[in-house]
């Protein structure tokens, strides 16, 4: 099956290829994730026990007004930040600030529902400068 290319709004530039980390619900950096390891620690979270470090996060929107930036900064200091972030909804300024400081490409508002179509763990390539998400929809 040919690779799918989905257009999105590129907010923070950078191009990276990494496994997808897909969440169906809003993600809260302050509270959901361990700031030292990038492991999801929130009890009952759909991705509890998994780590966001080095992954392309795909989720609807960020919860919490100021946590995103602070946590991304702490994670980046330890090399445990996500590889990229793709949001379904318009990006809030706080997460954009964090992405810029942490050097994490960030996109939002993809033309197609990525949460529904990208399998968790599938290798995706995102380009924040061009506003593109590429992945191979055939199973690994």
């Amino acid at each position: 099956m040919p690779e799918r290319i989905i257009q999105a709004r590129g907010m923070v530039k950078g191009r990276v290829t990494a496994p997808a980390f897909v969440c169906r619900r809003a993600f809260s950096f302050l509270g959901d994730v361990d700031m030292d390891t990038g492991e999801v620690i929130a009890r009952g979270h759909e991705r509890e026990g998994e780590t966001i470090a080095g992954k392309v996060m795909i989720y609807p929107e960020t919860k919490g007004s100021s946590g995103g930036c602070l946590v991304l900064m702490v994670l980046a200091k330890q090399g445990r930040q996500p590889a990229a972030i793709v949001l379904s909804k318009p990006a809030d300024p706080n997460i954009v600030e964090g992405a810029i400081l942490a050097g994490v490409p960030l996109l939002c508002e993809p033309r197609q529902d990525l949460i529904a179509s990208v399998p968790h763990g599938a290798v995706v390539t995102v380009d924040g400068g061009r506003g593109e998400v590429r992945f191979d929809p055939s199973p690994a």
Partner: protein, 421 residues
Amino acid sequence: MKLTDSEKRMLSGEHGRVVAQAMDYLVQFGDAFGAERFVEVIYAHYPAEMSIYRGNVEDAVEYAATGARVRVPTTSSTLACDLDQWEQLGCPKKLADLQAQVVAAHRRMGVLGTYTCTPQWLGFVPPKGAYIIAVESSAIIYFNSVLGARTNRGGVFTRYSAVTGRYPLMGYLLDENRRGTHLFKLQLGPEDLRHEADYSALGFHVGALVGSEAPVFDRLPPSTPTQLLALGAALATSGSVTLFHAPGCTAEADTVEQAFGGARPKETHVVTRTELRAAYDRLTTIPDGGPIDFVTLGCPHYTLEQLRGVADWFRAAEARVHPDVRFWVCTNRMTKQAARWEGLVERIEAAGGRVVCDSCPVESHMRTSTCKEHGLKTPQVAAMVTDSCKMARYVGDLIGCRTALRSRDECLQAAVRGRLA
């Protein structure tokens, strides 16, 4: 973004690496949101680095050591502890010592150590139309709405704006984004909107209905600055409101029509005392007559006049705070000095209360997450009475206590009785 020659010089390193880095971040930020150009800001309210956030204070010290200096008058927001009374208020020494390190860093950078959520009470009152950048949701909405200055919800990047004097022209800086969106027809008499708590309840009710959009209040009576501050703080708590219009009280629109810029409201609601009562009830989880262990006034930080009101109440009541109750009235350290001069601090302390500066319960070590990190028992508060919806909402979530929303005088009565009347 299109840069001026001056901005290009800043970006290219002509004013040093720190300014170039700051400009680079701001350009990325402006480009992300499609801003055409920068504007010059005349003032910044800076997010003071707090010791309850990992790496935050260390980052401030590091940044100050690079030689970074602010280019515009810059005040700073609250800290995680009262720098003078941290021990008496139960803050772990490690947290207090770390927090104290920001003072020297801010002095190096030229950031004024106001450590408050209400810099406007210290004379920082930008004129209508002025571009500024501020953190602290209750200050942001006050600057935008009551003063008609223009700011977005500042974040960590406020630091870079302070260092360059620039912010991208976007969001609430633009006329077309400053129009009202939702209409609230108030059917409230003077007895319904008497105390700051009433204004807070109004904001708490409306904020939840508008989310991040802009409410317009029809028939808000002539109101004092602290009443409008309470209204805004609550709007920014139950919603994430950045701007509201109340023709007759706020700066930009003289009529409801003007507030909407000729457009029709997306929604129209009526507000009666029933809705205000519902807001009170939503935030009151302490049963009537139930015991309490904490009373907080000063969210947002109190003025000198408000402190005088508290001191006068204790004198007239000839009463003391109940031994099982901690009573904090929060303000900033400059106002506390003025209050000391007036003999107000002495009176409040003699009655068993504390005038707390630099911080407040919400920003303190009492947060459940912070307590867990420092081996402190939780919850640090069982039942808090306050006249601020913002305080009630946040301590309920972050400290895990029961709360009650009451008028200032009722808060004081509860502090004395040790029970919710």
